[in-house]
Chain length 240, copies 2
């Protein structure tokens, strides 16, 4: 289906604008992506419901296509340069945790950090991502952008019981300075949950208490690394 | 010296506002920092010339102190929450390269990435940072913020001759996919320059040609890592 939209007052345009709010995205279980690369990844993953585009595109039949002008596109896009396309995607249903290597993000609050961690997680085979209650949303526009599309290939979980996972054989590994062992001298079990903490507070006491091991990256002169960088170093080390 | 400023039209306020432009910062060889943590690090490094503050502070005698109101402070600050203080700092003079572990950033364009790399570089003992011509400025406000103050403890170099450094015994190591060896099977010489490339284009051909070795991080499913994450993984590996 192809339709043209010429007015900024169109209900479809207004709906897209409402999807700029996280609460509305959660309610509708939908989110926006923009640009060629993200659209392509979303299409490969059958996540696309609607496409708002400057020029007609070759799209699957079940995707609604709306031809819009530059003004409308800029209005519904987050960035100044949406590369001619914005798409409405559906959030996937929460699945069972199926992989041995799991990442738990404990209240990571910066969307750029979150997206960067997603990109790295995919690169090192961490496909199940657990997000605590106060973690930034995986479908925040900046997180999606920083993930470079990795969000379409990962499974996100908000409902999980770490104690149950521990009983099921997952080794729980937290990154923490105090009472920890040097990362370089540690090899994880094949089945593990790597826990990374909030940018200021680190991993919460509750999660530290349930952890089997605490590891630290040896550093000099500065208190801590950026959480995205720390995530990369640990996941790379665990993938050897 | 303590003085009060009550008008937004004050020449000092206007001067600070001009320091929001990179070209003016370069011309004046001065830059702004804000917040308690960065002020503290700048003071430790004797970089502070002037402080604009909501309340009187205990500062070294050679630092000019200006008492301002919230409106003025917000006007001269970059962020919405400057934590009550903005300081004018002087850029250090370019020094000789003095360390064995050197980092070369080839046109890294995102200030957040740049600052994150600075923070990581300091943590792993890379204190001399070479910046190519089109690299984002080290004194960009977002780079300073992301560096968490590391900029005050690093030496930046814009004038360098890599061929001369190579003759002087530096091993030149580039991060690159093509024709490269796996990072995990490579150990650098003690004296080396690690080259990281631009976010989209990677390391330039010119720098690849002069490199002694090309290394890559083994990844799956995604084309590349964020440059700040890649920098962290390589520097951590080289620090073992």
């Amino acid at each position: 289906m192809i339709q043209e939209i010429t007015s900024k007052q169109n209900t479809k345009v207004k709906y897209c604008l409402k999807l700029h709010q996280q609460s509305f995205r959660d309610e509708e279980q939908k989110f926006l992506v923009e640009g060629e690369h993200l659209l392509e990844m979303a299409l490969q993953n059958n996540s696309v419901l609607e496409v708002y585009t400057l020029k007609k595109r070759d799209l699957p039949e079940n995707v609604h296509q709306y031809l819009v002008n530059e003004d409308i596109l800029k209005k519904i896009a987050f960035t100044m340069n949406p590369q001619g396309v914005v798409a409405v995607c559906k959030m996937p249903k929460e699945k069972e945790i199926s992989s041995n290597k799991v990442l738990l993000l404990d209240d990571v609050s910066d969307p750029g950090n979150l997206g960067t961690i997603f990109r790295t997680a995919l690169a090192f085979g961490y496909k199940d991502i657990l997000l605590t209650k106060h973690c930034c949303s995986a479908y925040n526009e900046k997180a999606i952008q920083a993930s470079q599309g990795a969000i379409f290939l990962l499974s996100f979980h908000k409902n999980f019981e770490l104690s149950k996972m521990k009983k099921n054989g997952y080794q729980i590994i937290s990154t923490e300075i105090k009472g920890s062992i040097d990362l370089d001298s540690f090899k994880p079990e094949e089945k593990h949950v790597l826990v990374l903490g909030n940018e200021s507070r680190g991993v919460s006491q509750e999660l530290l208490d349930i952890s089997d091991v605490r590891v630290r990256i040896e550093i000099k002169e500065i208190e801590s690394l950026n959480v995205g960088v720390a995530a990369g170093i640990v996941m790379h080390h665990f993938s050897k």
